[in-house]
């Protein structure tokens, strides 16, 4: 692609993205911040499904661990935000590795339902262990992220924090896909026997991906805690895990930027539908069903296929 065209293809969306929060209402910017958070968590679920064929409904657990670690270390102990986030990631990845090792030997529906069982276990433990999590009363007073005195305390400011992080993670994901291990992931999905014969340790790769997914969920959770400054169990129930799975499937698990579309969909849609009451949950479910039957590659995949179809080869 010629340099000028390339500059336009990347530059214009970038300008739009940068200008958007200044022209939109505070409420919309708030939604867009959530879209950014969900992009990060949803990316974890998306690549697990797209690259490894694993349906994970456990992401809410890691999201919660990240949030609660941040709450604990930053609100209760007054430590700086990187400590909370690092603790969350450390704990999440440890649990993912420990639990993942045995359950990732399962395949197909067994594995998916095992992750759902994990999601429920997490939900109940977050509730029961209220000495740790504050239960339904939650933990408040979580400090803002404020390096060098500049506090990310408004939706506008947080927008410019969360989206660059999300973008960075998408780039890292893209790099992974085009590397030796990314190739290995695609190969093992294609023909597990041939992959085994070439020395690929499928199980180990799956565990690594699961751990990575958990890290993303945790990071998103920590950011979430710093944004809303108050966390309680309601945010980390199984329906949160369902939202992450939904946005992954809708956005498309075979494109790198699919999660962005999915995240935008699930944050913006309830807004439009709010007049009709609590109907958005049903619309989401219907969208999931429609996507599975009609658009198996999600919006992202559909757009990519359309783009490729029109380019004469």
């Amino acid at each position: 692609m010629p340099p000028l065209r390339r500059a336009l293809v990347w530059g214009i969306p970038l300008l739009v993205w940068a200008a958007l929060p200044f022209v939109a209402t505070r409420h919309i910017v708030d939604l867009l911040v959530f879209a950014g958070l969900y992009t990060i968590a949803g990316l974890g679920v998306a690549f697990l499904l797209g690259q490894c064929g694993i349906v994970s409904l456990a992401q809410s657990v890691f999201y919660g661990i990240g949030a609660y670690c941040t709450a604990w270390f930053c609100a209760h102990k007054g430590l700086p935000s990187p400590v909370g986030a690092a603790a969350g990631i450390a704990l999440s990845t440890a649990i993912a590795a420990l639990v993942g090792w045995p359950i990732l030997r399962l395949s197909g529906h067994f594995l998916a339902l095992a992750t759902l069982a994990l999601g429920i276990i997490g939900q109940v433990l977050f509730l029961e262990w209220d000495w740790l999590t504050g239960g339904t009363l939650g933990i408040g007073g979580i400090p803002r992220i404020a390096p060098f005195g500049f506090a990310f305390d408004t939706p506008l400011r947080f927008y410019f924090l969360v989206w660059p992080i999300a973008l960075l993670l998408l780039v890292l994901h893209h790099n992974l896909l085009h590397s030796r291990n990314g190739l290995a992931l695609r190969a093992m999905r294609d023909s597990p026997e041939a992959a085994a014969v070439l020395g690929l340790d499928i199980h180990r790769l799956k565990v690594q991906m699961f751990v990575l997914s958990a890290a993303l969920g945790s990071a998103a959770g920590s950011l979430f805690a710093h944004y809303v400054t108050f966390v309680s169990v309601d945010s980390f129930a199984v329906d949160r895990a369902i939202s992450f799975l939904l946005l992954a499937v809708l956005g498309g698990v075979y494109t790198v930027w699919g999660p962005v579309l999915g995240a935008l969909f699930i944050t913006v849609l309830p807004q439009w539908l709010s007049r009709l009451g609590d109907i958005h949950a049903f619309v989401f479910a219907a969208a999931l069903i429609a996507a599975v039957i009609l658009l198996p590659e999600g919006f992202g995949g559909a757009i990519r296929n359309w783009w490729r179809a029109r380019a004469p080869k």
Binding site: R105, L106, G108, H109, F110, D278, P296
Partner: protein
Amino acid sequence: MSLSLLFQSVLSGLTNGFVYGLVGLGLASIFRGTRIINAMQGDFALIGGITAVLLLERFGWPMAPAFAAAVAVGGIAGWLMEVLLIRPLRRRGGSEDSYLLLTLGVAFAVSALVLYTVGRDSHSLPGLGGEGIVVIGDAAIRTHALWLIAISLAAMGALRLFFAKTALGLSMMAAALDADGALTTGINVPLMRTLTFVLGGLVGGLAGVLVGPLVTVYFDMGLLLTLKGFAAAILGGLANPMGAIVGGVTLGLLESLAIVTVSSGYKDVIAMAILIVIMIAMPNGLLGRRLRKGG
């Protein structure tokens, strides 16, 4: 722990166990018939339960017709799901993942629909035998619970007869074991698949009206019930749907035991942990035979 407390918990474990067994029976039947794990089996129970609630409370139907209709509606839901959703996916070449995502989606949709139309409240259903209690030794069990066990056993027996003795049942088994072979003998295989889902829906709806009087009917009861039913089905061996009842009872008893030894808040955690352990340690159930990779 006193003996009477233990006995009481055995009774309640037994009761719950039969519910899990019924859900598992539906799951295993659908799996055997179509190789699909129906992640919304528990929501068939929700559909049955909520239909009974609506018929009783809003339309003032008497109990027996309302329950019967509720079970029938479960069957209709199964039929609709297979024809409107499963078939199109099959035509488009669904993978194992996509069927799972589809049934999960339907589970969420049913739950969300109930939430939207009826709200978050729990709704109670009258039990068979009303509020009557039967006292056994030092423990008490609701008359309805005894009916539940009896009806579950009857359902299991009826299904067994159906698959072994009736022409339709045998055709369904044949279609499940060897679709191409069944086609050549004139069996309408797509219809058999649809009927499998209808059966699953009926059994699920039955589970709903039976469990409703005990635990009330609420919008998100489906998922947990599905998982516990799945645990029951695996314990009993997915290949043999009747084993799900045995698996369910085992699960129910373990769960009850856990409640009295640990705490009731952790009841679901323990059930879920048991599910995970079973899947890893004995994917072929208690009677375990040839080793499969699970799923």
